[in-house]
């Protein structure tokens, strides 16, 4: 049974490795996102943004609870649900009480579910889940819980903003909806159908889902979209699916706008370059160009430290500051009920992003200004160091402030 001896040595080694960092007296946030594998750039970019925000906006301003520093502990989930849950458990075992995650709604679903069960089973070791990017509406509707807080605008809110903008473009008469076949793609399609019908008389000439990450050649889809006579396209695609769709459309002669959720940064802006000019319309919170002077300075400092990365997920700026404020208000970083209660309903004035942020109490969804911007080279702050970036076209203030939610929040 040599094996077990070996195992003993190995596991002991891990214990040491993991344990070593657990003693310093800081308030830790476990950052659980892909740091290796195909999605690592998104994760690494987010990590840089978190580290910088915590350093600049919390620690350099005196930390929390009268001088304690906040610290971001990076854990690699390899974009895998199982690995995410392992890492959450590892974080909890290390005594970390704040879990930050954003990439993939599927993983966010798994984590929120686990956090809910964990908090119920271990009332003395409760944790809070800071969702900074996963936008599946269900997370703040049917699947909402007291421990989950979303700082990004969800898919419905973003669609609300997109359709507000579209309603003011009279040339769009026919719309084509295309998305990846999974919960987020379906949520985008359902929201588009609903809001377009409510706000406009636009005719939806196509509404389809394609398998996620499996389509090699988008040309047939582009042909179909062209043949349908659509004036514009709405898509929730991301990654290579986004680039290939956009590219096939422009190659096939499509001239209209593409309204998209994830068509910037992470190489996408750089790959589109001139081809995307005027075509890509990105929806998002915290878009820059024009930026507030504070943000320009912040961005400059960020780029000095992380020249490779972009400020592509500005809500992290809000999340870090609001969490610090909640801890200060609760006066503790151990009693998660107090911290969550402080965060619930918090109103925050984000000077950097020039918006108010309201953490809605009924569903823990952040309400903030949402913009629609256009891909262009006429920008101050670019993405992918490509000279291209997103310039704000229209802003919807406090988007979906009064929207309904099916969330029935159970408070401890």
């Amino acid at each position: 049974m040599k094996i077990f001896k070996k195992l003993t040595a190995m596991v002991m080694a891990i214990g040491v490795l993991i344990g070593s960092s657990a003693f310093a007296d800081t308030v830790k946030i476990a950052f659980i996102d892909p740091l290796s594998g195909p999605f690592a750039t998104t994760g690494s970019n987010g990590l840089a943004e978190w580290k910088f925000a915590v350093e600049k906006l919390v620690n350099e301003k005196g930390g929390v609870l009268g001088g304690k520093k906040m610290e971001v502990v990076a854990l690699d989930n390899k974009m895998d649900g199982k690995e995410s849950l392992i890492q959450v458990q590892v974080a909890i075992d290390q005594g970390i009480r704040f879990i930050a995650q954003g990439n993939s709604s599927g993983i966010a679903n798994a984590i929120t579910d686990m956090v809910k069960k964990h908090n119920k089973r271990n009332p003395d070791k409760r944790v809070i889940f800071i969702n900074y990017s996963a936008v599946d509406p269900a997370l703040t509707n049917d699947k909402c819980n007291f421990w989950h807080f979303r700082f990004d605008a969800n898919a419905d809110i973003k669609m609300d903003a997109i359709t507000d903008v579209i309603a003011q473009v009279p040339s769009i008469k026919k719309m084509y909806l295309i998305g990846q076949d999974y919960s987020f793609g379906k949520a985008v399609a359902a929201a588009a159908e609903k809001y377009l019908a409510e706000k406009t008389s636009i005719n939806i000439v196509g509404n389809e889902l394609h398998p996620i990450g499996k389509v090699k050649d988008f040309t047939p889809y582009a042909r179909k979209i062209l043949a349908s006579g659509a004036d514009a396209v709405i898509t929730g695609n991301w990654g290579a699916d986004m680039v290939n769709l956009g590219r096939s459309l422009s190659e096939s002669g499509f001239k209209g706008p593409i309204y998209c959720y994830y068509c910037a940064s992470n190489g996408i802006t750089g790959t589109f370059g001139a081809a995307g000019k005027g075509m890509l319309h990105l929806v998002g919170e915290g878009l820059h160009n024009p930026a507030t002077p504070e943000l320009t300075a912040y961005h400059k400092a960020f780029k000095a430290k992380y020249p490779k990365w972009d400020l592509s997920q500005p809500r992290i700026i809000n999340a870090a500051q609001m969490l610090a404020a909640a801890i200060n208000k609760a006066g503790t970083a151990d009693d998660m009920v107090a911290v969550a209660s402080a965060l619930e309903g918090m109103e925050f004035d984000s000077k950097l992003l020039g918006t108010k942020v309201l953490m809605r109490a009924k569903d823990h969804q952040a309400i903030q200004n949402v913009h629609v911007g256009i891909h262009t080279d006429d920008v101050e702050i670019d993405y992918d160091n490509s000279g291209y970036g997103i310039k704000i076209f229209k802003t919807v203030e406090m988007a979906s402030m009064d929207s309904a939610t099916s969330c029935k929040m159970k408070r401890p």
Binding site: G37, P38, F39, A40, T41, D181, G206, E208, L209, H210, P211, G213, K214, V215, K216, D217, T219, P220, Y221, A222, R223, K224, L226, A227, A240, V243, N244, R247, E251, S252, G253, N266, G267, I268, G270, T271, G273, D384, S386
Partner: protein, 318 residues
């Protein structure tokens, strides 16, 4: 009607691209009896090499140099890797090529990063070549078509008209005899593996700008290429050619027509459920052809293997 013509052309371009990959794979399999699972990784390498060269020198140089580099790399892999594993048997060979896929994929990410890279078609081909009602075909796609056809013709010429082609053809049916006739089989193996992977590299060079150059491109195309060669019949070039075209069209047409299961079910006399999102058969009711398009080849693969284990045109046992 116009859409059908345009779809036929699109499918042909895609199918020929697949053939460029599957022909190399078939050559390697016929000669060495091993299915090179890392084939698509060489395709990706071709795209990345060409991207790197296009940054420094230009697209056209990359078009020539990148496949040569891939060929050399492939030959080296055969010489120093595969040949060594050959002695352990068939399954370890398969596993070796499988592991190679991983290493190449990870190395590419190590060298070029994990994002997609802006490898674009040359300026001189950035115009619309053909305008058919409702859609246009860019010059680059026409160029892709021409290169594929040229490769196909060249391959056909080499196999049917030259001495080396004769040897390869003979080795297809009688590998032992060819060896007995005194041909340097290890050298032929190295050459065939190099050329086979080089063909994949060339496919990568011309597909990179059109299908996006990113670390997942090998995985995305990899298993489809296996489908082509297996459905066509392992070791059969004709089979690989026809299967590549078949799958090219299958995928193109499946993505082009939004035939839904609902249409069929209604035609069969069932009533569309009122609140479909809560219906127990909601997945069936909302199923459409483009949704399952990309998995149709795998269905085809299984059916073919179950009913004709040697593929449509295959003869020799694997």
């Amino acid at each position: 009607m116009d859409l059908i013509i345009i779809n036929i052309i699109d499918g042909l371009i895609y199918g020929l691209l697949l053939f460029m990959l599957s022909s190399g794979l078939t050559l390697i399999f016929s000669m060495m009896g091993v299915l090179n699972l890392s084939h698509a990784a060489f395709y990706m390498l071709g795209a990345y090499f060409a991207y790197q060269i296009s940054l420094v020198i230009g697209f056209w140089v990359g078009l020539i140099v990148a496949p040569v580099l891939v060929t050399i790399l492939g030959a080296l892999v055969e010489r120093y890797g595969l040949r060594r594993v050959h002695q352990y048997g068939h399954v370890p060979e398969l596993i070796f090529t499988f592991g190679l896929f991983f290493v190449i994929e990870e190395s590419v990410q190590y060298i070029w990063g994990r994002n997609m890279v802006p490898y674009n078609s040359p300026e001189s081909l950035n115009f619309i070549a053909i305008n058919l009602a409702g859609g246009s075909i860019p010059a680059y796609k026409v160029f892709m078509l021409l290169v594929s056809v040229a490769i196909f013709v060249a391959l056909y010429y080499v196999l049917a008209r030259t001495r080396i082609g004769m040897i390869i053809q003979a080795a297809l049916s009688y590998p032992k005899t060819v060896e007995a006739l005194g041909h340097n089989v290890p050298l032929v193996f190295m050459g065939v593996f190099g050329v086979g992977t080089g063909l994949a590299g060339l496919a990568g060079v011309i597909a990179g700008p059109s299908l996006t150059t990113f670390p997942g491109m090998a995985f995305l195309l990899g298993s489809i290429v296996f489908v082509c060669v297996v459905v066509g019949g392992l070791g059969s070039l004709t089979g690989a050619f026809l299967a590549s075209l078949l799958i090219g069209w299958l995928q193109t047409f499946a993505a082009s027509y939004n035939i839904g299961a609902a249409d069929i079910l209604i035609a069969m006399g069932y009533e569309y459920p009122k609140d479909v999102y809560y219906h127990p058969w909601r997945d069936l009711w909302t199923l459409t052809l483009p949704q399952i398009g990309p998995i149709l080849p795998y269905l085809l693969l299984i059916l073919v293997l179950v009913f004709r284990p040697y593929g449509l045109f295959g003869r020799r046992d694997s």
